[in-house]
Symmetry: C3
Subunit: 144 residues, 3 copies
Amino acid sequence: MIATRVTTDVYARVQHFYARQMQALDDRRFEEYAATFTEDGVFQHSPDIEPARGRAAILDTLVEFDRRFADDPVRRRHWYNQILLEAREDGSLGATVYTLVVHVRPGVRQPEIAPSCVVHDVLELTGDDDVLTRSRLVAYDHLA
Amino acid sequence: MIATRVTTDVYARVQHFYARQMQALDDRRFEEYAATFTEDGVFQHSPDIEPARGRAAILDTLVEFDRRFADDPVRRRHWYNQILLEAREDGSLGATVYTLVVHVRPGVRQPEIAPSCVVHDVLELTGDDDVLTRSRLVAYDHLA
Amino acid sequence: MIATRVTTDVYARVQHFYARQMQALDDRRFEEYAATFTEDGVFQHSPDIEPARGRAAILDTLVEFDRRFADDPVRRRHWYNQILLEAREDGSLGATVYTLVVHVRPGVRQPEIAPSCVVHDVLELTGDDDVLTRSRLVAYDHLA
């Protein structure tokens, strides 16, 4: 029943925040993505890396990840589903979100859709009706 | 125009309810899933079975289905999309929802995404801002 | 920050509108789909066609597209994700939406999921809490 203590207003706000955050990531606007985290935000995008701490480190980790694909014109789209929110005692929100990553290559109509992940976020609601990510941990279903 | 008679508050509430209900199912918390139905709830998860009536029967049908996969470490994630709600005269809601089932096996990065279904629900709004499923019928697109 | 100027009420209303619009399209209720556009609405569903202008032309383009599949009993389902809205100065909304098209054929459990697209819409909020599409442009990721 915890989930329903989150107002529907907050629920829609979080959905919209994720749309903005993920479109920034997928369009490779990495500075904009990093700015969706709190100043001391923590981000672990893959199970085999150390978490990045702070916006500068988050930006670095994304630029580095992106460099691996310098010769691969792949376009990624992160899909989210079944967003579950829980109010936490300090006023933040816990979020558990299903994720699929769609990979598209030029001229290839059929995308690759993999892997299936679960995003575990802690979110902060800001005064101006916005949202920031305090921490993000991505769990891969096939490695669970 | 029927769809718009459902308030946006109810729309977000139903989205959140589905996230909670499906995460319970996919995590194999079957008692929790059964409790998201009304006491006399009806659930038909496959076209080749008789509907289960009441929470105890719903729990039984899930445990039985799950037993078939005792030797298969598959992890399922139910994705929902394009949730359409219609207010019904008795105060309940009719819901028509696109569904895809993501199947992940350990060590296999590429999930199988099948089948495509449509969930037909009747939902009840409860006094404490929660939602319960009165009936659920799953139609498989490839068997339509 | 533009995105957050859109109220959460409008966000949920647009989600519900899309569910209704896409279920009409996928059920081949093409007149109902055409009526979700403004009278002078513009619709370009594929990059290789001229945009259709006005409801009658939109209806024609859908019927023509549908005729190509007269001998193919394919069932399509349009999935939307990461809906990003921006308030425009004239009171309309710009929408950027991830899309995947699920293709199902009778007796084949595994759907084909392709292509990955981005829908670029301009939406109008109507007086009776409804939404209309003023223009829709579909960009294919593999042709970008």
